[in-house]
Symmetry: C4
Subunit: 497 residues, 4 copies
Amino acid sequence: MAEKTLISVEEISKHNNADDCWIVVDGKVWDITEFAPQHPGGGEIIWKHAGRDASTSYNSIHAPAVLPTNLDASKLKGSVDPGTITEEWAKPPPQKTPELKLHEKPGLETVINALDFERIAERTISKKTWAFYSSADTDCYTRDRNKEFFSRIWWRPRLLRDVHTVDTSSQILGHDVGLPLFVSPAAMARMVHPEGEKDIARGCIANRIPQGVSTNASFPIDEIIASVPKDAKHPFFFQLYVNKDRSKSEALLKHVRSLGVDTVFVTVDAPTPGKREADERVKADEGLSTPMSGAQAKNDKKGGGLGRVMGGYIAPDFTWDEFKWLRKHWDGKIVAKGVQCWQDAKMCADAGLDGVLLSNHGGRNLDCSPPAIMTLLECQLNCPTIFSQLEVFVDGGVRRGSDILKCMCLGATAVGMGRPFLYAVNYGQEGVEHFIEILKSELATAMALVGITDLSQCHPGLVSTLDVDHLVSRGEGHPYATGRRLGSVVSTVKARL
Amino acid sequence: MAEKTLISVEEISKHNNADDCWIVVDGKVWDITEFAPQHPGGGEIIWKHAGRDASTSYNSIHAPAVLPTNLDASKLKGSVDPGTITEEWAKPPPQKTPELKLHEKPGLETVINALDFERIAERTISKKTWAFYSSADTDCYTRDRNKEFFSRIWWRPRLLRDVHTVDTSSQILGHDVGLPLFVSPAAMARMVHPEGEKDIARGCIANRIPQGVSTNASFPIDEIIASVPKDAKHPFFFQLYVNKDRSKSEALLKHVRSLGVDTVFVTVDAPTPGKREADERVKADEGLSTPMSGAQAKNDKKGGGLGRVMGGYIAPDFTWDEFKWLRKHWDGKIVAKGVQCWQDAKMCADAGLDGVLLSNHGGRNLDCSPPAIMTLLECQLNCPTIFSQLEVFVDGGVRRGSDILKCMCLGATAVGMGRPFLYAVNYGQEGVEHFIEILKSELATAMALVGITDLSQCHPGLVSTLDVDHLVSRGEGHPYATGRRLGSVVSTVKARL
Amino acid sequence: MAEKTLISVEEISKHNNADDCWIVVDGKVWDITEFAPQHPGGGEIIWKHAGRDASTSYNSIHAPAVLPTNLDASKLKGSVDPGTITEEWAKPPPQKTPELKLHEKPGLETVINALDFERIAERTISKKTWAFYSSADTDCYTRDRNKEFFSRIWWRPRLLRDVHTVDTSSQILGHDVGLPLFVSPAAMARMVHPEGEKDIARGCIANRIPQGVSTNASFPIDEIIASVPKDAKHPFFFQLYVNKDRSKSEALLKHVRSLGVDTVFVTVDAPTPGKREADERVKADEGLSTPMSGAQAKNDKKGGGLGRVMGGYIAPDFTWDEFKWLRKHWDGKIVAKGVQCWQDAKMCADAGLDGVLLSNHGGRNLDCSPPAIMTLLECQLNCPTIFSQLEVFVDGGVRRGSDILKCMCLGATAVGMGRPFLYAVNYGQEGVEHFIEILKSELATAMALVGITDLSQCHPGLVSTLDVDHLVSRGEGHPYATGRRLGSVVSTVKARL
Amino acid sequence: MAEKTLISVEEISKHNNADDCWIVVDGKVWDITEFAPQHPGGGEIIWKHAGRDASTSYNSIHAPAVLPTNLDASKLKGSVDPGTITEEWAKPPPQKTPELKLHEKPGLETVINALDFERIAERTISKKTWAFYSSADTDCYTRDRNKEFFSRIWWRPRLLRDVHTVDTSSQILGHDVGLPLFVSPAAMARMVHPEGEKDIARGCIANRIPQGVSTNASFPIDEIIASVPKDAKHPFFFQLYVNKDRSKSEALLKHVRSLGVDTVFVTVDAPTPGKREADERVKADEGLSTPMSGAQAKNDKKGGGLGRVMGGYIAPDFTWDEFKWLRKHWDGKIVAKGVQCWQDAKMCADAGLDGVLLSNHGGRNLDCSPPAIMTLLECQLNCPTIFSQLEVFVDGGVRRGSDILKCMCLGATAVGMGRPFLYAVNYGQEGVEHFIEILKSELATAMALVGITDLSQCHPGLVSTLDVDHLVSRGEGHPYATGRRLGSVVSTVKARL
C-alpha cells in the first residue's frame, strides 16, 4: 500500500503551502490540502506544518485514530524515508513573532492589564511625557511602595458560595457607578494623546466612572464636559488647587459649578511641589500651558520640572480655617485630597467634609510618606467613626481589580487611579474603555473567588493584613516623644490640632 | 638512565591517544598505554591526559610512589625537556562539555531534582504548553510564595537516634502508599507527552502513589485506568469540577464510580477561573479538547487562556448545601479541594467530608491567596480538632522530599504535587518513576537527619515556624473590623458561616 | 488652494534647517522659517522637526487652530503626498543625547542631588581617591545600612498648615546656621580638588555651615581659615585625633585655639583603624602627606590603605578619664565624635561635654556597627535626659534634606555630612555652594510638606519609626546574658561603666 | 627665560621614559630625570607620567612650591605650547592592570580576606574539587544563611577604653591558642594541594591553631602529625565518623590515641549523607581514596557525589547510649560535632561530654537546618547552665575575625572554620599562615573597636541580636503541637529525650 511507499523529505518539503499541503504524522505522509480549511481547530495550525512533521502538535491534541478516520485512504501518500531526514527539516516550524519597533504600539487586543499599558507608554510616548507622568519625589520609595503594599495584603478566600452573578456596581458621593473606581485628577493628558482628558471622559461613559478633572488639565473643563453627550451619566469631579489669589479660585469654582459639577476635590498635600527629579532632568517644551490655571512651562536653573514650574500659582497658605471660605463659594460636595494620617482624616470629618481621599499624590510630593492603604488601616484603628461621617477614598499604587477589592474590604468607599488612565488614553477613548473593562473583570473575578457577589458583602475578614500590621501607627503617643527640643513642641503641635 | 633522557613536548604530544599513550607526572615521561585499561579509576581519566602533563590530576589522588611501583621501569621514557614546554602544551586538557541544543532533553540520569525537570520542560516543551502549565493568576505572587514559604520553615534536627532503617510508607484515605504523596489533579497531560496521564499512572505503580485524575484530563479516565495492570495497587482519585448542568456531573460520577474509583476530590476554589496572563498571551490550538468535560479550546478577544475557555462548564453556584446532592450520587469518599482558610476547613469537617485539600490551585486562581502551608498552620492554631475528624492534605510549592516532611510534621496526612508531575512525564513513564524515587530518597534522607525512622514519629517540635508565625491568622476577630460599611457586613457574613 | 498641492517628503526634507524650515502638522506643510525664532516655546523645538512631521509634538501642546491663526496663509505650502512617505522620514527626529566621556564632568547645572555628585566623582576622580573616600570597613554593611535606614523611617505629614514661609535656620553650639548641617571632618580633600578644604570653606560661607576640619586635612587649618574673609560668619570646628604623644596634641590644640576656633570634635571611635579593603587594594601615592599630623602615605605588605597607614599616630589608649586632660588644654567646647550606644552617650553627658556626635565613622571603622539614626532612637528611649544636657548630632548616610529633617524630628540638634562634601568639592567652591543649596531646598520642601515652618516645630509625631523600632536596643539587660564565661564579665564591664 | 620657551607636546612626548623623563606641571615643562629616583614617593609615580601632564597627580599631593624648590632652575625646560595639545596627549597615563588568566593565582600578598581565597579557589582549582568543597545540601539555603546571619548581628561598641594592647589568645580544651579558632575537620585536602592536610598543619603552628583531622583526610593522621616538628605546640583533634563495623573504629581510636591526640570530635549529624547536588553533577575521579576510612570514589547512577559514596561506612545507628562504648575506647576528651538544637546540646552536657560543636556541617547535610549562631542563642536562652558544664563551639559561615568575636560575646569557647582553610591551602602552608594572620588581625581590630583588650571581657551586651531574636526557639512547647497525629507523637518523642 501507499504506507510502504517511501517518500523523501525533499519531496515532502515541496508541498509546503495551503494550496498543496502535505504533513507527516507518526511517520505517515498525508495530503491534507482539502481537509485543512475544514479543520475544527482552524487551518492555520495545519498550514504552519505544511511540508513538515506535525506529529508533536498532532499528538498533543488528537488521538492516533483521528486522521485515518477523517481522511480518505487516498490521502495517505506514503511513509517518510528515514534516511532522507535532515536536521533542518526536523526542526519545529518557524515561529512568527514580529518584534515591535520603538514607538510602535501593539494592537489593543494584546493589552491585558495595567502594566501592559504602562510598559507600552514608556516605549511609545515622548521622553518628556514619560518623565512627567512616571516621576515621583526624590528617590521614589513611596511611589514604589504604593504598589508593593497591595501585594503584602493577602486574601482569605471563602468558598462554596453561590457566585453565579457578581455585581461590581457601587455608589460614589451619590452617583451610581459600574465599579467603585474614579479617575484621580492628573495634569495635562494631552501630552499623551491629542484628545487627552476628552477621550478619558468618553471612555468612562459606559461604566459611569467619575472623572476627576485637574485644574492643570490640558483642556478647559467646559470642553471636556462638552466632549460627552449631555445625557451621559458619568459624573465629573473638579480638582482644585487653591490659588494664591483666592479671587481666581472663586471665579473658577463659580464657573465649574455653573457647568453642573457637584463635587470638588481640594488638593491639600501640595502647598509646595515635590522634587520630581526625572521630570527636572528632561527639558520642558516651553509652549506647554494649562488653560484653567494659566500656567506656562519653562526651563530654569533647577531644570525642566513641569510640576514645579506650572504649580507656581498654588497657595502654600491654605489652612483648615479656609474650608469656611470654600463652603461660601461652593455649595456642592467637598472632598479633601491628599490626607496622609488619621489625625488629619479625623479633622476632615470634624470639619464636615463629604469625603477624604487618602493619597500621597502618587508619591510625587514627599518621598517616604505612607502608602494610602496604610493610612486607611490607620484610620480603621484610630478613628473608625469617620467611616460613618464621610466617604473614604484611596489612591496610589492601585493596578488590579483585586487591589480595588482589598480597599473595599478594608472600608474604602471607592478607589482612584491616576497614572494608569494616562497610559490607557495613549490608545484614545478605546484604550480607556478597554482598561476599565479589564479592571471590572478583574474585580468581578476576585469577588467571586473570595466568595462574595456584591460589594456590600466586603468585610475585613476577607483579607489578612498581618504582614503590614506592625507598620500601622497607633494612637497619639510616640515612643520617642521626649527630649529637650521635643517636649515643648509636642505640646505646641497638639495644641494646634 | 631513561630518567636523564630529555624528551621534547613536541615528541610527547605525538603519543596522545589510547593506543599510544604517554603522560608526564612530576617531570617524568611514562608510557602508560598498557596499564591504562587496567587503571582502577578507569582508563578515561588517563587518556584525557594522553600526550600531556597529568601531574595535577595524579597528585590530587595518588601518593608519589604509586606509578614507579605499578609500572615496569621500561615504561619510564625519560624526563620532559623543560626548554621545549609551550604555553599551549601546559594547558589542562580540553573539557568535553557538550552544549544542549534547544528542545533536546538531557539524559534522564542527569536529572536529579524537581527543578531540573522544570527547567528542562521550559526549554523543550511547546511554548503554549509551558504557558498553560507554568502560568498563574495575574502577578504570580502566590505561585512564587508557595515555594518560598517552605524555605522559611526551619528544621530542628534531633541527633543520635538509630536511623538505620527509615520507612517512608504511609496511608492516604485507606490506601497504603510508598510515601505520603499523591498526584494533584492537573489538566491535559497529553500536551507534554503523547501518553500523558497514562504514563503518569504507569509511573506511579511502583510506589502506589495515588493519582488524581482531572475532569479536564487529556484522556477519559477509563483509558487512564486501563493503561495499568488490573492488579496494580496504586489508587485513582477523581477530581470533579461540578458542571453547571448537574445531570452531567451525576452521569460522570456514576461512570467513574463504576470503574472502581472510591474517592472524589471536588474542586471548590474555582467557581470562576483566575486570570493566567501568560496563558492568555499565547494562542491556543483550537483543536485541543478534553474528553470528559467535552470542552474545546478557542481563542477569543481576551486571549488564548485554556484554563478560562475550557472551564466554561464549571458551576459557579455550587455551595455547601450541595454536598448533600453529592453524597446522593457518590457513595465513596469525598475530599474538598482548594480550601484556603481555617473557617472553611472547619466547615468541611462539620459537613462530614473525608478529607480537605488545603490548596490555592497552584496560585492559578486568586493571586495573594495564602500558601497552603500557612493555611495548615492556621488550622492547627484555630481548629485543631479537625485533624481527628478528617484527613488534611496540602499542595502548592512542594518540590523536595523535605517539603513533604515539613507538612507531615505540621500535621498533614499527605501532600499533593501537580505541575512537577507534568514536567516529569515529559520523559514518559520512566520520568515519573525516576521523579518519585528522587522524592522518596529525599524524604528518607530528611527523616534520618531529623532523627526519625517512620512517619508516625513526625511532630511539630522538629520544625521551627518562627519566621512565618506572625503571618498565621488567629481567631475570628479582625483588628480593622469596624466602620460604616463594615459593621453590618461582618454580621451578615458571620450569619452565613 | 495650496492645501491641495501635494508635496513629496523628498521635497519637504530639503527644508530641514533653521534658515529654510518647513514642518508638517496634521498633513499640512508649513514654511515656518520666519516664525520659528519668535516661537514662545523657543525655536529649538521647531528646528528639531525641520523637514519632518511635527504633528505629535505640536498636538501635545497646541490646539489645532494655533498654526493657521498665527501664520500667514502664504506659509501653507501644501499637503504631504501620502504615497511618498517613507519609514525613514516618519521617524521621530533624532535625539541629541551627548554621551559623557570618562573623566569628563557634566555641567554643574545638571547636578541636582547628592547622588549625582557621588556618581560623577566615581567616574571622574582618580581610582585611589575614589577607593579612599568611598571605602568602608570589611563588607561595608554599615556604610550601606546608614543610607538604607533613612528610607525605613516614614513621614506622617500634617496638612493644611500655612507654610507660606519656611525657615530652615537653626543653631549649632551657639552659632547661627542657615540649616542644621555641618561638614563632618574628613581627611585629605585635596585629593579631589587642588583647593580641597579651602574651597569647602568658601562654599560654606553663604549658609554659615560649620566646617569640621580634620587633623588629617590636606592643608594646615591656618591656611583653610585664611582662605575665607575674616568677617565670614561660618564657624570652623577642629577635629582632633589624640596623638600617642600627648604633647603634640597639646601644641596642636593651643595653635588651633589661637586661631579663634571654639569647638573641638574629639574622635573616640578610632583607637585603631578599620579595615577598608578597597583602599588597601589600590596602591597609595607615597608622596601624600597630611601637614597637621605629619603622617606620610606608604605601601606595606597589608596594602595601600591610607586610613590605616596615616593614622599610625592616633592614641589607642585615650579614655574617659582623659577628658580632664583635654579640658586643661582646651577652654572651648568639646564634642565626642563617634558614639555608638546610649550608654556611652550618657557618659558623655555625665562627663559634662558640650555635644556628642552619634556616628559610626561612615561605616569605615567597624562593620555591623549601628546606623547613627538607630543610636539616636536608642538614646531617646533609654536616656532622654541627655537631650537637655548636651547637643546631639548625627552623621552617616545623610543624603537628602528630608534625612536632615528626620533627624531633627527625632531630637537631633544638627546633622553632619562627610563624603558628600568631598564629592561636591570635585566642582570646587561652586560645587559646595550648589550642594548646600540643594539640601536647603530639599529641607524646606520637606518641612512644608509635613506641615511645619520652622525647625522648632519638629517633633517625633511627624515620623513613623515602626519599621525599625524592633531594632532599637532597650535598657541594660540582654536576653542572653548568662552562661559560664558571661556571668562574671557582665559584672566586670558594668563595674567599668 | 626658559619659562617663555614654548614646547610642543610632540617634543615633550619624546622624553617619556625613566632615562629621559620630562613632565608637565601646571603648564611648565620640567626635566625630572635626575630627581625621579630620589623622589620620596618613589620614582614609579613620576615615570608613569613621563612625557605627559602630571598636574593632577602632583597637585593632589604637593604644594605648588615643591618643584621649584627641589629642582635646579635649569631643569625648567619651558612652557607647553597650548596650541599643540592633542586629546590623546591630555589623557591620563594608561593604567597597567594586568588581567589574571584562568587558573592563574594572584600573588598571596594581594589576598586580604577569606572571600579572596574563596574566589581564587573557584577560579583555579579543578571543577570537581570546587564542586565537592563548595556544595551543600539541595537548595543551599543553610549554607548561605550561615554567612548571612553573622551580618544580622550588630555591634554595640563601647568607646574610650584603653585598647593599646589587645590580646587575642585563649584556651580550647586545655590548649593555649593564639586566637579562639580551630580547623573544622574537612575531607580530602589533597584535592586542592599536594601537601593537603600536612600544609594546613604546618600553617597552624605559629598561632597554635588546633587542627581537626577528618577520618576522610587525604593522608593518614600519622603522616599529618609527622609533618610538623615534634615540639610544635599546636594540637590535633581527631574527627571520628563511627564505623558500621565498630571494631574498625575501636582500632582507629586506639591508633590515634597512641599518637598523642587527646580529643576526638564525634560527628553526630551525618547518619546519612546530605544531597550535595553540585557534587553529584560532576564526575568523580574513581582513583580517589581516603586512607583511614578505606573509602574509594566511584560514580553510580545517582551521580559522582564524593560525600555520599565515600561515606558508605558511616554508622547510621550510633546513638546516645553508645557514648559509653566510646568512653571505653577513648580516654581523652570527647566533643559531639553537629548539634543543632538546645535539647541535644543539653543531652551532651548531661552525658558528660567535654564539648559540643554547634554546627550544621556547613549546610551540607540537611538544608534549612539552623545557622549554628542561632543554635548558640537557643542554648543561651533555654539551657544556660551547659556553658559551665562543657565547652561550646560553633562553626559554619564564619569568615571574619569579627564573626569570631560575635560568637565569643554570645558565649562560645571558640569557633571552627572548614572550607576557608581548604581555600587557603590552595597556596600551601604559606597560604594558611597568611589566612590565620588575617583573621587574627581582624579579630584584634574588632576587639579594640568594641572596647575590649582580652577575650575574657567578651559579653553579650557588646552585640545586638534584635534582628534575629524572633527566630530563636524558646522552650519545649510548640504553638502547633496539637491535632490527631501529633498528640501521641509528641509524648513518644518526649519520652525518648
